[in-house]
Amino acid sequence: MQTIDLATQPLRELNSTLQAQSAQTNATAWEVLNPRGAHAIAVGLDAPIDVTVRGVTGYYCAGMNKQAHIHVTGSVGPGVAENMMSGTVIIDGDASQYAGATGRGGLLVIKGNASSRCGISMKGIDIVVHGNVGHMSAFMAQAGNLVVCGDAGDALGDSIYEARLFVRGSVKSLGADCVEKEMRPEHLEILRDLLERAGADARPEDFRRYGSARKLYNFDVDNAAAY
């Protein structure tokens, strides 16, 4: 285990050290101490290494992640795992707004609650939230899966394209063009796999599925007067 203590080492050194790891590195386990809410911790990684951040982080933790498995033992600020490509990011606490925004791949697990705009413009990432998500989650979501074991706030899936949204609890309201959809066996399989990988103690059968009504895809001349 390699340890980097942010109380004594600069953030740039942490990120450049982690970013320099190759796929063949022997240093596969890393520990980051005293994050104390700092921004941009463990960003831009591109190697199959395990990084454990012990504490609370600020903005943009684990952004642009590729391959790495990043575990934060506390809560995270806005924009965790933004634009993740692959790998895993696990947050033991809560996540602030726009968790997993624009993510293209990989798995983001939030064991507490996520606030507003979770999964905004997601493009293939899988996000599993053990608690609740705030308003405007999955806004303009294009691909991937958002799983919410608790409740969803206002305007879930507003202007959604093709992502799948699974919610176990209540949905305060659905956004424009987001509708409840039939849960078919293939969806239960996807959900079962995600819940298992996210360590969530929940039954797929207890969830409802939401997705795009596909009515915003094309311009409708009947709406011309609205512009």
């Binding site: 809410g37 600020g58 600020g77 507003s116």
Partner: protein, 298 residues
């Protein structure tokens, strides 16, 4: 972008350290707002006395004989305690309004930052570290306080445009965000007789809260009203003589983190601002919900 910090003490033994804790929090928020900084601190007041915090760009000349000059007009004893460009005038509470009126002609260049039983406001243009040092905020004690680091959007970078704003006795408000209906609301509030001194959007938010409380609303009810009547982005932290409140607009894009222990309630735009508070690792830490009013009082 701006930075907000706030600290409401439950444990009175921490009161001598309030200024030091707020200074540390404020300086941490420098990169959210490096152009100006300010602090409202609720310290001890004297029975029957009011405190007016005033500011001058020509402090030496303006403050030299101010206490005597004002005392003669009021026919009362006025005490003056100077801190850099600011001074705190202590005078009989019944004459606070008369003092305001007198100062307008006695020292036209003077700006009144706040008045009330316990509030003092210090704010200036400059880096938060420098502003805090000029007033020696770290040595101040009090029961609660609110600080702000400003990155200006809606009005000029001036002392008057810095936060906190105080539009009523012992009241203050700081803001992260921008209001879009402030011109119209300013006109409405001015017609209703509310005092507004600047072209700043936040001052209108502060005046709105003052006006609601003048109509009999509690602090909580006044903050609820902001959700209906203010248009724009806001995270507000407000202080009253014995209270401390927080509200975020329904979109809630301006960040906010709160922490509570048996000793205090703390607010920070970011968690970084809270990391040096005692017992933070065991505190209840949460993000205040959108369109939800939080307030505490002594």
């Amino acid at each position: 972008m701006c930075g907000i910090v706030g600290l409401f003490l439950k444990d009175r033994s921490l009161e001598p350290q309030l200024g030091a804790m707020l200074t540390d929090m404020l300086v941490t928020m420098t990169d959210r707002g490096p152009d100006s900084a300010g602090i409202a601190i609720y310290g001890s007041g004297q029975a029957g006395q009011a405190k007016l915090t005033v500011q001058s760009d020509n402090a030496d000349a303006d403050f030299a004989t101010l206490a005597d000059d004002l005392g003669q007009i009021l026919g009362a004893t006025v005490a003056l305690r100077r801190a850099d460009t600011h001074a705190v005038l202590t005078l009989p509470a019944a004459q606070a309004q008369a003092a305001r009126d007198a100062l307008a002609t006695l020292r036209p260049g003077l700006r009144i930052m706040s008045d009330g039983h316990s509030i003092e406001i210090y704010k200036e243009v400059g880096l938060p570290r420098d502003v805090a040092a000029r007033f020696d905020v770290a040595s101040m004690s009090g029961s609660h306080g609110i600080g702000h680091t400003r990155m200006a959007t809606e009005s000029a970078v001036t002392t008057q445009g810095a936060h906190p704003f105080s539009t009523g006795a012992d009241q203050c408000l700081v803001h992260n965000g921008s209001l879009s209906n402030h011109n119209n609301l300013r006109r409405t509030l001015k017609r209703a007789g509310v005092r507004i001194d600047s072209q700043n959007d936040t001052e209108v938010g502060a005046a709105y809260v003052t006006w609601k409380m003048q109509q009999g609303a509690t602090l909580g009810e006044a903050l609820e009203g902001t959700l209906d009547d203010l248009d724009g982005f806001f995270t507000f932290v407000v202080g009253t003589k014995d209270g401390f409140g927080v509200v975020r607009d329904p979109i809630a894009c301006k960040p906010a983190v709160m922490a509570e222990t048996d000793q205090y309630v703390a607010f920070g735009s970011e968690y970084r601002a809270l990391v040096n508070l005692p017992g933070i690792d065991a505190a209840r830490v949460w993000e205040p919900e959108p369109a939800t009013v939080y307030f505490w009082s002594h």
